[in-house]
Symmetry: C2
Subunit: 259 residues, 2 copies
Amino acid sequence: MKILLTNDDGIDSLGIITLKAALSGIGDVTVVAPLFEQSAAGHGITIKRALRIVKYYKDDQFFGFAVDGTPADCVKLGINTIMRTPPDLVVSGINHGSNTATNIIYSGTVSAAREAAILGHHGIAFSINSREAANIDTLAPICAKITKKFYETGIRDGLTINVNFPDIPASKIKGILLTRQGNSRFEDEYELRFDHIGRESHQLTGILADLDAHDAKTDHYALMNNYISVTPIKLDLTDYDYLHELEKNNLGEIISQSN
Amino acid sequence: MKILLTNDDGIDSLGIITLKAALSGIGDVTVVAPLFEQSAAGHGITIKRALRIVKYYKDDQFFGFAVDGTPADCVKLGINTIMRTPPDLVVSGINHGSNTATNIIYSGTVSAAREAAILGHHGIAFSINSREAANIDTLAPICAKITKKFYETGIRDGLTINVNFPDIPASKIKGILLTRQGNSRFEDEYELRFDHIGRESHQLTGILADLDAHDAKTDHYALMNNYISVTPIKLDLTDYDYLHELEKNNLGEIISQSN
């Protein structure tokens, strides 16, 4: 099986290095990843300038292709320009930090896997619930097993698999929960800073507050209870219930009054 | 009513200038928009550096606050730092170019309105189906009417309203259709370019191919048939049907075999 591997922490992060090693046991891995960190890049793509690709070496060995763009750019460019034959799966991660609940909307890691779905391929995103990723060595082999399983069973067109790990040794993992995306809210704070010549600037701080982590069906519940969380996400953002409810609003009046 | 107005084309674009004028007839408008164009920024936010805010003047008159960040940054900073009292509605646009179908995932305009929902507020995104936006003067008053209508009726928590206009005179608009997000696929092409010192680089070209524009329930169908399209979108990306289907996959085996 052919795997396109990317991430958002950058091509020299522990997460992608460890995951490449684990995935190499189950397939041919081509790494196409951002040269520099792209955390919180969301599903941005680069349209105003041309992208550059450089070969990146680790310990004097060719490791992969580094791109001066976003995670979604890496998937587009990887499939279109770098790989000679299309990948069977696109894998993104392992991200340093969880991508659960509303947070996945900001996530470059999840967006990269989702870009595969937009292009008619399939993607899986892996994240671990801490910046340090202390237990990544014991968890990466499980990523490889999950990847292999989805390669064998297939993923429905248009869908993306979002996987999160608690940062505990594999032996302590209680199991895998199929979860829904939880609900969280960013409680923003901007801290006033002064730049190198004393001008005011504003640094985002603040926390992401979980609104339904008590609900055993959610992704953040799974992590807090030592389970791996697996959530299928889709491209269609329409709220169908509210679509029907909006019929009551008589928006049509606006046009008949305007004409 | 208090309106926070933003966009992704930048604070000096015709779309936001025209929309500010139209919305000023129904409320107090505070403009907080990117200083430079942020098209295709997706739902990226700036976390690695502090943001700067500069007052932007048009024709020697104060027009709004320009931010060196993404559209979603503008909404966060506008609500948290710039506005003294929270807005009743966040409005984004008018975008030069439609934001329909899968394309909305890349859209800075739609993401800005959606950021309002993440913060516990409500947002509406407006786009017009051409770069030139030739009929924007006759269409902007309809944006104001739609905004007023949603202010009066309210928007359900967590939802965002995505509105697209065909670029035709208001008198030719056939009506408003409540639509679902259509399905489209980016048929990527990267054009080989050479930079200022002759190094290879890759410029994204290619087209977004509509896969279901024949379906009268979709947003792109509405535009092609001279209707305004109104689509409610949500924050929860979970595919619940597939979530149940995944139970058959026995992912749990992976962990029992690992331990």
